[in-house]
Each structure stands twice: as structure tokens, then as C-alpha cells.
């Protein structure tokens, strides 16, 4: 099986700090990591390769620093990687990102599966996986929690929806987006790390891809962020302590009164 895994480099969420006066994110000094939800996609691809043979190719779009993310995926066991990086790609929304990644994937040649994380933890849209499928004209199964069977022509997957799991038979080539349920992601191995340091990772710009320059980056993006602000934190916590029987009673009474007043019970 030839599997392509698109990944994204994101700021480490727990270290994101906000500038209180401007309401914008402080990116300086924030550690950049592989989107944690993409690790499940890499894991899924590696497991399929272990069972069926083949190769796993990781692809990312981002600034030159995103090379670190591609190398980390190789350290986990991916066979090779490619980075789409150029000033022309900067400012892409999900439409332009899907467009550019699709062009990169086309250049990689034939494949059986594209496996993506459910969404990136910074943008939180989950739109790029299905967007790639749309551009490449492929079927897509999102929120996949389990792959039951796979052969050369199809995969049988369980797709997590609001009230359960759908069982879908998906003809290949296809796009899957996976959720954490699919299995814990492995750590990079020492050997993998060594390989990741020495391997050549191609960097492709617009001239390497079959793309229309008008569709790239900020210019090619239909949407624009016009304002960023902090949500109003209007919550004022009424906190009661339950240390002994009396205070426990009072706290529970207080909560029940609160819920009644809010018409929640």
C-alpha cells in the first residue's frame, strides 16, 4: 500500500499565551510540534504498512521551520517526506491549503490512501482532509475510529458519528481522517531519529507544482480573518466548600437552588 499522510506543524497548545492588551496570540518562544491529532494518522499508516507492506510518505505545507515536523514523522517510521514551502503559500486558508496540498500529492504519483488527522489543534477546522478529497475527486471517510479490514481495492472502516459508529466500505484510492480511538501513536525510535536527521527531504515551491498562482496563499484564499478578539469571560464562580456535614448540606442546597433558578432542573 502506498499511503500519503498530510501533517501540520502547530504551536503546543498548553503553552499558547495571549497578549492581554491586543488579544492576539504570542507565538514567540512557543514550542512548535506535529499536530497531536496527526500522530494518529501517522500511526494508522504505519500499522497498515506493517500488515500490507508498501510505503508511507508524509507531506506538509508550512514555513521552512516545518521541516522539523516532517523529520519527526520520519523518525516515527515514515519512509520519506516532502515539504511545500514558499512565500507564495503564506496566508492560505483551508481552501488554498487543500488546493496546494492536493497539487503536492498529485506530484507524488499513484497512491492507495491519504490519511489525515481529524483537524489541527490550532485552526480547529477539520476542513483540509475533506477539502483534499474534493480537489482530487476521491471518496472520503471522516472520523474513522477503526479499520476492520483492508485489501488492495477497499477498506472497511468504522466512522464515529454522533450516535454511534457507521461501518463503511470505502473503495481505494480514498481519503480517511482518523480520530484518537484508532490507536495510541508510537514514539520515534533512536534508529528513526538517526534516519530522520540524514534523509533528504524535498522542498517544493509553486514552480515545482502544477498550480495556478492565483489560487495560492492569501491571494487564493476566499476567506479572510477580519478581527481577532478574546471571548468575554463573564463567568463569576460561586464557590462553596463542603468540609463537613453542615457545609456539605449548604453547598448542595446552594447548587440545587442555582440549577433551579437557571431552570435546569
Amino acid at each position: 500500500m502506498r499511503i500519503i499522510v498530510p501533517i501540520k506543524q502547530v504551536p503546543e497548545t498548553s503553552s499558547v499565551k495571549m497578549d492581554e492588551t491586543t488579544g492576539t496570540m504570542i507565538r514567540e518562544g512557543v514550542e512548535a510540534i506535529v499536530n497531536p491529532l496527526d500522530l494518529y494518522a501517522i500511526e494508522t499508516a504505519l500499522r497498515l504498512r506493517e500488515r500490507h507492506g508498501g510505503e508511507v510518505i508524509v507531506i506538509s505545507m508550512g514555513p521552512p521551520a516545518a521541516m522539523t515536523a516532517v523529520r519527526e514523522a520520519v523518525a516515527m517510521g515514515c519512509d520519506s517526506g516532502v515539504l511545500l514551502s514558499d512565500k507564495a503559500f503564506a496566508g492560505s486558508d483551508t481552501w488554498a491549503t487543500s488546493y496546494t496540498l492536493s497539487a503536492g500529492i498529485r506530484k507524488l504519483g499513484e497512491f492507495d490512501l491519504i490519511i489525515c488527522g481529524e483537524r489541527a489543534t490550532d485552526g480547529d477546522t477539520g476542513q483540509v482532509g475533506p477539502g483534499i478529497a474534493g480537489f482530487l475527486g476521491l471518496p472520503v471517510a471522516t472520523y474513522v475510529g477503526k479499520i476492520d479490514e483492508a485489501d488492495a481495492s477497499k477498506v472497511r472502516v468504522r466512522r464515529l458519528v454522533e450516535n454511534g459508529h457507521e461501518i463503511l466500505e470505502v473503495h481505494l484510492p480514498a481519503v480517511l481522517t482518523v480520530v484518537k480511538e484508532i490507536g495510541e501513536a508510537r514514539l520515534p525510535t533512536l534508529r528513526g531519529k538517526r534516519r530522520a536527521r540524514s534523509i533528504d527531504i524535498a522542498v517544493w515551491g509553486p514552480e515545482d507544482l502544477d498550480v495556478d498562482a492565483d489560487n495560492l496563499g492569501l491571494q487564493g484564499s476566499p476567506t479572510r480573518v477580519v478581527k481577532i478578539f478574546r471571548p468575554k469571560v463573564a463567568r463569576d464562580c460561586t464557590k462553596m466548600s463542603a468540609k463537613d456535614e453542615t457545609t456539605l448540606d449548604a453547598a448542595v442546597d446552594g447548587l440545587v437552588a442555582f440549577l433551579r433558578q437557571k431552570q435546569l432542573i
Binding site: Y99, R159, C237
Partner: protein, 338 residues
């Protein structure tokens, strides 16, 4: 079919049905769509894809604010499958040229809309919680939480049409039935054959163990690591049952195997926006807050007075959950009975 600004008009929402019955998200979208259509001085149309959709439900969409409902039907559309759903939606967009096209940020909407948007050359904004019309330009202003709910971003699609957005479920109430009878048009169409091909086949369905999923519930009670072991899940479950809510879990609880993944709230689980969130023994990690801080009302029960969860809570009890929760269940039951 490049979406330019000319000749696009009307607000459209994509409703959802299950077994031919129109789902709640449709009525939430109707409230959003009606507001936008009124501000824009235009019509509101509901698109429903399915098979043998109940007539009474189609009429209800009119009663709740739609000017027109278009039901596109075929056996192949009974369940969501991305290719036929996308082909039908694209056909409708091409023919009717809506100015605004909304869907729910559900497992269906979040799959279908990006697939359609790239093909329609349209801008798409995910998981919006606020929608408005910019007075000067008539553009749709789409506001959504990002970076785990730490910021809100307002997004605009200036040129391409339709302006597409998915809307976070439960971020608004369903539209009310209008007091006076409303007139509207109900159109049933047989979906065109050429739109029905699919390389995905739905071969089965495994329902959740618990009846109510955390994303569909008005009330969600979440168990955190404070419950100490899996055998203690019933303590929290009893509260969920008493409140007629769904049972959720933090990542710790799922990773330890005390509850299954569909229960998980947070960054690597689901984002929920219930009317009431109750966290029991959940400390409130940033990753967890990302999945629940837009809940309408937040209650926390935790033994640690400095737990982060209290920073986003409306009401908190600092105490031993094994004492507080049973006492609370008892008290709620008594209150109901009296």
C-alpha cells in the same frame, strides 16, 4: 462554476434528517437563517437530502420560518454518503446560486461542506458560533472560536459566492413555531440519477452503548480522574441519570479505559456546547477546557480549590466528590418529588 458575486441571492440552509424525520439541527439553522435572510431582505430556503421525508416535518420547517423547502429524495440518500450528497448539493448551488449557504457543524456538515466548498470555489468557515450581516457591504460576518476557544475570530468571504459556513450545534435555540400560519413552498424532487454514484457503501451501524451521545445532550456530566478508578463510574453516572443528561469523560478517564472514546470531551475528543456542563473530579486542563468552555452553564465539583475548572465555572463545590455527588443526587430527587 466559479462563484462570483453576481446573481447570487437568498439564504439557504442544509437541514438534516434521520429515518425521514427532520433533525433538531435543522431548526437551529432555521433560526440563524431567518435572522440573516431578514437582515438581507431575502428568502430562506431549506435543502433536505434523504428518502421518504415526512410531509409533516417539511411543513414544520415552513412553520418555523422557512420560505421554501426543497426535499431532494432517492433511496441512495437515506444515509449520509459524501459523494451523492456533494453531487446533489453542488447541483442545487449551481442552479439556485445562493448567496449564503449554511450547514450544521455535525459529522455530516463538517465532511460535506469542505468537499463542496472546494468544488464550488467558495469560501467556508468552520464551526461558527455567531453570524451577522455587515451593514455596509451585506457580507456575512462569521465568528468562530479558535485555538481551543482561547480566541474568537471573525471571518469574511468578500468576493466568492456562496458564502458557506458550518454552525456549531446547540449554539442557538431551535426556531420557534410562528404564532400565525405561514405560507411557504414545499418542493419534492427526485434526485438526478447522475448524482447518486458512490464509492463508499454503508454496510452497518453500531449504536452507542448509552442512548444519548454527548454532542446531542442538553446536559452533560463529565467524570474526571478524581473518580480514582473505573469501578467508581456509576457514582457519576447516577448524577447524569438524575439530570437526564449524557455521561462524558476527560482524556485521563478514557486513556485509563474507564469509559470509551465516544465519551471524551476535549481537544482530542469532542467539543460540546450543552446548556449545562457538570465536571466531577475534572481538574480542567487546557485541553479539556477547549472542548467545553462554550457550554452555557458550567458547574464543577472538585476537591482541589485551585483546580483550573473553577476559573471557567459558574458554580463550584470544593469537596470530596464521593460525598458531594450522592448528596446532590438525593437532593435533586427530593426537590423533584416535592
Amino acid at each position: 462554476m466559479t462563484g462570483t458575486k453576481q446573481h447570487h441571492q437568498g439564504v439557504w440552509i442544509l437541514g438534516e434528517q434521520a429515518s425521514g424525520r427532520v433533525q433538531r439541527i435543522t431548526y437551529e439553522l432555521l433560526r440563524r437563517g431567518r435572522e440573516l435572510a431578514d437582515k438581507r431582505g431575502t428568502d430562506l430556503t431549506v435543502l433536505l437530502l434523504g428518502h421518504e421525508i415526512h410531509q409533516a416535518d417539511l411543513e414544520e420547517t415552513i412553520e418555523r420560518g422557512a420560505d421554501r423547502v426543497l426535499a431532494m429524495e432517492a433511496p441512495e440518500l437515506e444515509h449520509f454518503l459524501v459523494e451523492p450528497y456533494a453531487a446533489c448539493t453542488l447541483k442545487v448551488i449551481e442552479e439556485y446560486r445562493p448567496e449564503i449557504f449554511l450547514a450544521g457543524a455535525t459529522s455530516t456538515g463538517r465532511t460535506l461542506m469542505p468537499y463542496v466548498a472546494v468544488r464550488a470555489n467558495a469560501g467556508l468557515t468552520a464551526d461558527c458560533t455567531v453570524l451577522d450581516i455587515e451593514r455596509e457591504t451585506g457580507n456575512l460576518l462569521q465568528t468562530r472560536p479558535a485555538i481551543g476557544g482561547n480566541i474568537l475570530a471573525t471571518i469574511k468571504t468578500a468576493v466568492r459566492r456562496p458564502q458557506m459556513a458550518t454552525v456549531r450545534p446547540r449554539s442557538t435555540r431551535p426556531a420557534d413555531r410562528q404564532p400565525r400560519p405561514r405560507r411557504g413552498e414545499i418542493v419534492r424532487l427526485v434526485a438526478p440519477k447522475e448524482c447518486l454514484a458512490s464509492r463508499i457503501r454503508r454496510v452497518g451501524f453500531l449504536p452507542n452503548e448509552s442512548e444519548r451521545g454527548i454532542q446531542d445532550a442538553d446536559i452533560v456530566v463529565v467524570a474526571g480522574r478524581g473518580i480514582k478508578k473505573g469501578e467508581n463510574v456509576p457514582v457519576v453516572e447516577a448524577l447524569a441519570r438524575e439530570l437526564a443528561g449524557a455521561l462524558g469523560a476527560t482524556r485521563d478517564v478514557v486513556d485509563r479505559g474507564w469509559l470509551s472514546y465516544p465519551h471524551q470531551v476535549g481537544l482530542s475528543g469532542k467539543t460540546i456546547t450543552p446548556k449545562l456542563y457538570v465536571g466531577v473530579g475534572a481538574s480542567g486542563s487546557i485541553q479539556h477546557l477547549a472542548g467545553m468552555q462554550t457550554s452555557e452553564t458550567i458547574v464543577a465539583i472538585n476537591s482541589d480549590p485551585d483546580a483550573h475548572i473553577f476559573n471557567v465555572a459558574d458554580f463550584g463545590i470544593v469537596g470530596d466528590l464521593f460525598e458531594v455527588v450522592p448528596a446532590l443526587v438525593e437532593k435533586i430527587r427530593k426537590t423533584r418529588e416535592s
